[in-house]
């Protein structure tokens, strides 16, 4: 090879290099753009589905309360979703994600999107905010169901603001924000069995204790059922929640634009679905065996229990493991519903069995399918978050109780909150007893 040819060859290789490099850059940016779009749209669509869970909770709860309190629970559900939206913007989001690695408390700062230049991001900041916000709203919805039929509207909304603005975000920062539990204990909670559901459940049980049971629920040691007024609506609610859970668990993958992500989401969908089915079938069989009657309302709670159980880890388990995890959630629900009654904790819609107890179960069973998780790490997370949420919620409830009061007057409770607080009736034409 002479110099000239060498030059030509050099040119050649240099040219190729440029071409390849330019191509690679372009390709990389295209790939990145495509992934950005996939991830962003995915989180928006899944977030939209989770948002619809608000309607699910609303229908479930409106169906399970007595008709004299149905309009009030509807008002609470749409209001709490609105409060959550405001609080996550004003404080919550930056409390969750403004925490430093291994830290315990994030930043107090109104959120605004940082992604003026989106080219470096995996997905749009707004889409992330939206998805996180709808998760927070879920937590607040859980509380409203348990305390229905006797709590006053405004104190409830004050608690909701504190829950969605402070309590939830702080504990969520420990895990999803990369804080203490994530950094020190490798606590693993994929879509929030503990962070979302048990948190809602702890806040609910604290409220139920401070608030006390509905008048007449526990009479002379007997449990006096107060049957839900509209079971088809409650069933619709359970179906909507089930649907929403695909968004909840699937969306928590937080990315969709690659083989791995799309495959993972698919597996999450399947596991989520079989866990819910297993929860349904277990409660169906158990209530038939125990009570000789298949109890629709427990079966609905069973579906939710199965869903909560798989939420901590919907990706790692094999299908048969997901079935077992969901089925045991159904067992827990069936057992826990009457046990709560034993302790005179009046949980109108079964929020505590489904979200708290199954939330703990789902979190503790993670190591079974996910090797990176440890039982001890999970336990620390469950206890630490549980303790934090329960104690703080309890204090807030007590504070509210002894200042503005949280409980409707006995007269108003007997009359029904709809007439008392709203001045209207949910079903004014269908005279209830």
């Amino acid at each position: 090879m002479n110099a000239k040819t060498a030059l030509a060859a050099g040119c050649f290789f240099f040219g190729i290099l440029i071409a390849t490099h330019a191509g690679a850059q372009e390709a990389a940016s295209e790939v990145q753009e495509s992934a950005f779009v996939f991830n962003t749209l995915f989180m928006l669509i899944m977030g939209m589905v989770v948002m619809f869970m608000g309607a699910g909770f609303c229908m479930l709860q409106a169906g399970l309360v007595r008709s004299k309190n149905a309009a009030t629970i509807c008002l609470k559900t749409i209001s709490l979703y609105s409060v959550a939206g405001m609080m996550v913007w004003l404080v919550g989001y930056n409390l969750i994600y403004g925490v430093e690695a291994g830290g315990l408390l994030g930043a107090f700062k109104i959120w605004s999107a940082s992604d003026v230049d989106m080219a470096g991001a995996s997905h749009s900041a707004h889409s992330d905010w939206f998805f996180q916000m709808v998760l927070v709203a879920t937590t607040a919805s859980i509380v409203s169901g348990a305390l229905a039929e006797r709590i006053k509207l405004w104190p409830f909304l004050v608690f909701t603001a504190i829950l969605t603005g402070l309590i939830y975000p702080i504990q969520a920062s420990w895990v999803w924000g990369g804080g203490y539990l994530n950094a020190e204990w490798g606590f693993s909670d994929f879509a929030g069995s503990t962070l979302v559901h048990a948190t809602g459940g702890w806040a609910a049980i604290a409220g139920a204790i401070v608030l006390g049971p509905r008048i007449g629920k526990y009479d002379k040691g007997r449990v006096c059922p107060m049957p839900g007024s509209n079971l088809p609506l409650a069933t619709l609610g359970a179906f909507i929640l089930w649907l929403g859970w695909f968004g909840f668990n699937g969306g928590s993958q937080l990315a969709s634009g690659s083989f791995q992500d799309a495959g993972a989401i698919s597996k999450i969908f399947v596991n989520t679905n079989v866990a819910a089915s297993a929860g349904v079938l277990t409660t169906l069989v158990l209530t038939q065996l125990i009570y000789k009657k298949a109890d629709l309302t427990i079966v609905l709670t069973g579906a939710i229990g199965g869903l909560v159980s798989i939420t901590a880890e919907p990706l790692a388990p094999a299908i048969w493991q997901a079935v077992i995890i969901g089925a045991f959630g159904g067992v827990l629900v069936t057992v826990a519903v009457p046990i709560l009654d034993k302790f005179k904790i009046d949980d109108v819609v079964g929020a505590i069995p489904a979200h708290l107890i199954c939330g703990i179960w789902g979190t503790m069973i993670v190591p079974w399918s996910k090797v990176e998780a440890s039982i001890i790490g999970q336990l620390v997370g469950v206890v630490m978050i549980g303790g934090f949420v329960f104690v703080l919620s309890f204090l807030v409830w007590v504070a509210l109780k002894f200042t503005v009061g949280i409980r409707a007057s006995a007269g108003n409770e007997l009359l029904g909150l709809d007439k008392a607080a709203l001045g209207l009736e949910a079903y004014p034409e269908f005279a209830p007893g």
Binding site: V223, P225, M226, D295, T334, P338, D341
Partner: protein
């Protein structure tokens, strides 16, 4: 004139009405009621708590008739509403002092 109050099983309404029409009874007023009687209500389970619903849904039929018709009417109701099981219902007869048809203002037996 007499005012007959009959409490019957809901699904017997058509039978009772069909039994009364031939007698010349062409008006009656029906109310949905809850009956408490020897018939026990039914057990219901709700979220793991059993409880007894004490009442059974019944229909109350009110019929104003002339004196001559009372026995025939009560007999017709009995035959039509009878199943032989607890919960068949009761018939009460009350004295009717006066009656008026609102449309015409007619008073007394012709108003029935």
């Amino acid at each position: 004139m007499r005012f007959i109050i009959a409490v019957i099983r809901p699904h017997k309404l058509d039978d009772v009405r069909n039994a009364l029409t031939p007698l010349g009874v062409d008006g009656m007023t029906v109310t949905e009621v809850k009956g408490f009687g020897r018939q026990r209500g039914h057990k219901q389970v709700y979220r793991g708590a059993e409880y007894n619903v004490d009442f059974t849904p019944k229909l109350k039929i009110e019929i104003a008739v002339t004196e001559e018709l009372v026995v025939a009417a009560v007999t017709a109701i009995r035959d039509a509403a009878h199943t032989g099981h607890i919960g068949d219902g009761k018939v009460f007869v009350i004295d009717l002092v006066d009656a008026m048809r609102v449309r015409t203002g007619e008073i007394g037996p012709t108003a029935l």
